[in-house]
């Protein structure tokens, strides 16, 4: 009996990959020729046919004519008022908002403080969403060691986040040396949706400053000059809440361009000590490197694709165990506990059901390994990591005693999936090797 996932792989690898369709240059020319000719005809016909008809229809009515005239007069009055107002102050946030509407992409670089208060360099390329420019539609964030603006998609030592609106996916890559027990483990997570990390820098689109203008407290403006260039600047400090809680902002706007040129974020309202985030380079409409929003999986990287897991659980709702009415952390612990129980009892059917992403061959290897090392007792489950990061999976470390008396650490990725009305908890994969020394 073949498993649903095997059928899927069979169709992909043995059918679709081998489905060769002969296609000649002549066919290409015929299709392209007709298509281009149609486009040309439609482009010519479109405006010539439609616009005058609509205009005539609208202007037939006297009331509409009057309303149109009134609207034009009103527009002129409003424009004059705005021009008049904008001439008065050297800078106003509204001018920044207006200027940012024309910005299509942004590059930022700076540093942030890690949990152990060390400075880590980062850079990001951002294309704001056309629906809400306070959020990015395309985003590449890199942290690690590199020269600013150095785009190298093949550098395996950078922590990378790529968000792509057209893929509707988020890619998250952790280089080796990220994990305590697994110094050589490289992991990439792929998930559906645009899950930007709350700690990532915000997207400085016009909507962001629009929201900031409405929500910010203790807004304070001070005019001065840029330390390096001597250009006239405005330095704004304010408290503006973000998803991570209140951040205290210091932003430098260039009076001439109206655009933000530097910003810093503090977690304390006194603006003392090193800022949590410092952005010292902002480039507007930069030349985007080719493939900057494309994610390359580095060699020997474990890839955990949430989209694939969701498909498997949707197609087979008997995967995993039901964890309705448990919160995420409790559910993760329950899943891990039941999984190790099944391994210890050698209930292979349940183990297989709880770990549905396992390939047939890998599954046989894993089963043989479990039989040879014989886990005997689950000694404890430690605190879950990454519970709230939707772009990765919760990570659950466990201590396990083997039948030979040795104690090992096993770290598992867990996922809580919605299958219809049921909440199912499944094991995704281990973080690295199945067992390591504590």
């Amino acid at each position: 009996m073949r498993h649903t996932k095997n059928i899927k792989n069979l169709v992909k690898k043995s059918y679709l990959n081998n489905l060769n369709v002969p296609f000649s240059k002549e066919m290409d020319e015929r299709i392209l020729g007709d298509t281009l000719a149609t486009m040309e005809e439609s482009a010519k016909a479109g405006p010539a046919l439609s616009q005058p008809n609509i205009w005539r229809k609208i202007m037939k009515s006297k009331i509409v004519k009057l309303a149109t005239a009134a609207a034009i007069i009103l527009a002129v009055v409003i424009s004059v008022t705005i021009l008049d107002k904008s001439a008065k102050p050297a800078w106003a946030i509204e001018q920044t908002i207006e200027t940012l509407r024309e910005i299509e992409s942004i590059y930022i670089a700076g540093y942030f403080l890690t949990a152990d208060a060390k400075k880590a360099d980062f850079q990001a390329w951002i294309v704001p969403s056309s629906k809400d420019s306070s959020k990015s539609a395309y985003y590449r964030f890199e942290a690690g060691r590199f020269e600013p603006e150095d785009f190298n998609p093949y550098d395996q030592n950078r922590h990378v986040v790529v968000v792509s609106e057209s893929d509707n996916s988020t890619y998250l890559y952790f280089p080796a040396n990220t994990w305590t027990f697994y110094p050589n483990q490289k992991i990439a997570y792929i998930s559906e949706g645009l899950d930007r990390n709350p700690k990532d820098p915000p997207c400085l689109g016009s909507d962001f400053f629009e929201k900031m203008k409405k929500q910010a407290q203790d807004w304070h403006e001070e005019y001065g000059k840029d330390e390096e260039t001597g250009k006239q600047s405005v330095f704004v400090t304010c408290a503006h809440p973000t998803r991570m809680g209140a951040y205290f902002w210091w932003i430098q706007f260039d009076v001439e361009t109206k655009l933000p040129v530097h910003y810093k974020l503090w977690l304390n309202k006194d603006y003392t000590g090193e800022p949590a985030v410092c952005v010292n380079k902002i480039i507007y409409n930069p030349k985007l490197p080719d493939g900057v929003f494309k994610f390359h999986v580095p060699e020997e990287t474990k890839v955990l694709d949430h989209r694939e897991l969701s498909e498997i659980v949707s197609a087979d709702p008997t995967c995993g165990i039901s964890v309705n009415e448990l919160d995420t952390e409790e559910a993760c612990k329950r899943v891990v506990s039941e999984y190790w129980e099944a391994v210890i009892d050698q209930d292979w059917e349940k183990v297989c059901r709880m770990r549905p992403m396992m390939e047939e061959q890998t599954w046989e290897e894993l089963q043989n390994m479990y039989i040879s090392v014989k886990p005997a007792k689950l000694l404890g489950i430690r605190e879950c990591i990454n519970i709230d990061n939707k772009a990765s999976f919760p990570i659950v470390p466990c201590l396990i005693r083997m039948q030979n008396g040795m104690t090992k650490v096993g770290v598992l990725h867990v996922s809580i999936e919605q299958a219809g009305d049921d909440k199912r908890g499944v094991i995704v994969d281990s973080l690295g090797p199945e067992f390591v020394d504590p």
Binding site: Y15, L19, P22, D167, G420
Partner: protein, 181 residues
């Protein structure tokens, strides 16, 4: 892709290079979708032709929501369904002979003997009801999400999911039958 938005912007301005790029980027994938969905492979070229010509008519007004590849794949699937219906009306041959016809009408490259597994799969795919085959192909070849398929086809996600599940189940039954013979 970001490229999609830029290409559509160019296309709506009447830029021929943008349209040519769209065709060149997605042609191969769309060919596969058409070939996998059509009962008579000789219709593949016509279906691609019709879809691109219709697409070209939308110049200046085309609005993209989601991926362009997904949109074009759905157009191919809709055309392929119409073609299959038309072919069925014109001919009284059954599915088996239609399948046989497919390989007979293939070009020279296709005359290479395919693996036994490929033939089993080709046979099994042809046995699927069109609405199931369509979802399986759109999902696995065009890499469309169930939600996206549901939105573009105007049906619920659950309908798409159950068609996909039934499709894979049926494929499994057919293939297990073939293998165990």
């Amino acid at each position: 892709m970001l490229k999609d938005s830029l290409l559509i912007r160019g296309f709506n301005r009447g830029d021929k290079d943008a349209l040519r790029s769209i065709y060149e980027i997605y042609r191969d994938d769309l060919l596969k979708v058409a070939a996998a969905l059509l009962n008579d492979k000789s219709n593949v070229e016509d279906v691609i032709h019709d879809v691109f010509v219709s697409f070209a008519r939308t110049v200046g007004t085309f609005k993209l929501s989601g991926s362009l590849k997904g949109y074009l794949s759905i157009c191919i699937a809709n055309r392929a369904r119409d073609r299959n219906r038309a072919t069925q009306r014109q001919s009284t041959i059954g599915l088996d002979s239609a399948r046989l016809n497919r390989s007979e009408t293939s070009g020279p490259d296709q005359s290479v003997i395919r693996s036994e597994l490929f033939q089993q799969l080709d046979y099994a795919m042809a046995q699927l009801p069109y609405e199931q085959r369509e979802i399986v192909i759109l999902h696995l070849q065009s890499r469309m999400k169930f939600k996206q398929i549901a939105k573009l086809k105007g049906v619920s996600v659950n309908t798409v999911l159950s068609r996909y599940r039934y499709g894979l189940d049926k494929l499994r039954l057919i293939l297990d039958g073939e293998v165990n013979k």
